[in-house]
Amino acid sequence: MNRRIAVLLVRAAVLAVLVLLLEVLCRTGVIDPLTILPPSAMVAAMIEQLASGDVTDAMLRTFSTVALAFLAAVLLGTAIGALVHAVPRLRRAIEPLLASYYSVPTFVFYPLLVALLGLSMAPLVVLGLLSAAPAVMISTLAGLDSVSPVLRKVARVQRLDFFRTLRWIVLPAAMPSLFSGFKLALSYSLIGVIAGEFILSGNGLGYAISFAYQSFDNRAMYGLMLFVLLVAIVANGVLYTYEGRLAHRRRRG
């Protein structure tokens, strides 16, 4: 536990130094403050933005979209991953596709999604889902592979039915892999949704940033960017901590 804290402290220190450096470079004019806002000004801008209430709707909309996309990706990705794992032929056909999936820019499908689903939240949810679900599928396959055959034998000796085997043996054994997939899924659905809003939608945080950018409103733009960044970091941090707690007991020492 002490080691973990030490690592976190070092990481925080590195980050602090970098931020401080940026601040100094901006304040001394080495970097034009019109190009990049000094970090202190970014923070002030972010607080302004949040306090004004102008972006509250956008925020709620974006986060609920991300949450929906993430949940759908976890559920569908795990279910389809398990199905593919159960049918070796299907797996042989699909696995190479999965491996090369992330070289496909899913955004190109957005117009198609809008045509199919209309200009609601739905196309963005699907976009987030499309970027997140394959990661969950890949980690589900890896996780199910990691359940050793002898543990499945134990399940049979204990005469566990299908669901108890799943709940008591397969899921906990596969959890470390599954969890790393969930972590990726959170990042990917956040990226998918915000980028979708940024490029193509008329709503949400992504759109707000894009709007600020196009109207040369640097303060608003940097404030919102910082906010999105902080949210991503906090969300990941929470999962990271939880994962650490999960793995902590499995490690030696």
């Binding site: 134990v154 049979r156 000796v157 108890r164 008591w168 054994a173 007991r249 020492g253």
Partner: protein
């Protein structure tokens, strides 16, 4: 009345019997792993299996437990045919580590009682007893990855014993233990066997262990494994590791070794 001699056990209907059992693994190359085997395990008998590496001992355990289906022949447990399902009252300790890394030692052992319907205090009592029995009391709160290989194996033994199976199948359970601990664990196993009246099949690569613990030792040939010798040890039911100094002990292991020597050389690819 004194304890019946081992031979009298054979008069009861057998606890388990194998008839013409053959196991082949199909694949690009079919592997004939086991048999044909005919074997009766008397109820309450302690049977040990020795044989060269890869001769099909674990495969034998697989078909006997119902985990694997024999390619030919039949398996009967307590009078009922076994096919691809593990019947009630069978406990198996596998050769590989099968502890659950996500549960503490205590919870690993308690796993065996999750569906027993016993109330909490009774579960705790039995688990504590089994954990203590295996010398793990100080580690009840540890997770298996924090233990040594031998300790993990003991966790698996405790998880099986806590269920009080009538037929206990053990696949080299003491493989990762040092010689001293092995002897002590052997004593514990004997005590448990005596107290519970369970039937035990123990696979081991130690001839001494087989000769010391078992009523009967089955010596297996090189693959495909068949029994080439069945040796009655003639020990009293009430025995412990001190019998290694019994005058009968030396000749017994010598006989096992003589039977095994040629077979072991075969698996090493040399002429006898």
């Amino acid at each position: 009345m004194s304890a019946p001699p081992a031979a009298a056990l054979h008069d009861n209907p057998p606890h388990a019997s194998l008839r013409g059992v053959v196991r082949r693994y199909e694949g690009r190359q079919t592997v004939h792993a086991l048999g044909p085997i005919d074997l009766d395990l008397a109820a309450g008998e302690f049977f040990a299996v020795v044989g060269p590496s890869g001769c099909g001992k674990s495969t034998l355990l697989d078909v006997l437990s119902g985990l694997g289906v024999p390619t030919e022949g039949s398996v009967t447990l307590e009078g009922k045919p076994v096919r691809g399902q593990v019947p009630d009252g069978v406990g198996v300790v596998f050769q590989e580590d099968s502890s659950f890394p996500w549960l503490t030692v205590h919870d690993n052992v308690a796993f065996g009682l999750r569906r027993s319907g016993l109330d909490r205090t009774e579960v705790a009592r039995r688990v504590d007893h089994a954990v203590g029995f295996m010398g793990l009391a100080q580690f009840a709160g540890h997770y298996p990855p924090q233990l040594s290989g031998g300790m993990r194996q003991r966790v698996c033994i405790a998880r099986t014993l806590v269920q009080q199976p009538r037929l206990i199948l053990l696949d080299e359970p003491f493989g990762a233990l040092d010689q001293q601990t092995r002897l002590l664990m052997g004593d514990e196993l004997l005590r448990l066997w005596r107290d519970t009246g369970a039937t035990v099949l123990l696979i081991t690569h130690s001839l001494d262990e087989a000769a010391m613990l078992a009523d009967r030792v089955g010596v297996m040939s090189a693959r495909p494994g068949r029994f080439i010798d069945l040796v009655e040890t003639g020990w009293q039911r009430d025995r412990d590791s001190r019998i290694v100094s019994d005058p009968a002990f030396g000749p017994l292991t010598a006989r096992l070794w003589t039977s095994l020597r040629a077979e072991s050389l075969k698996t090493m690819g040399r002429a006898a």
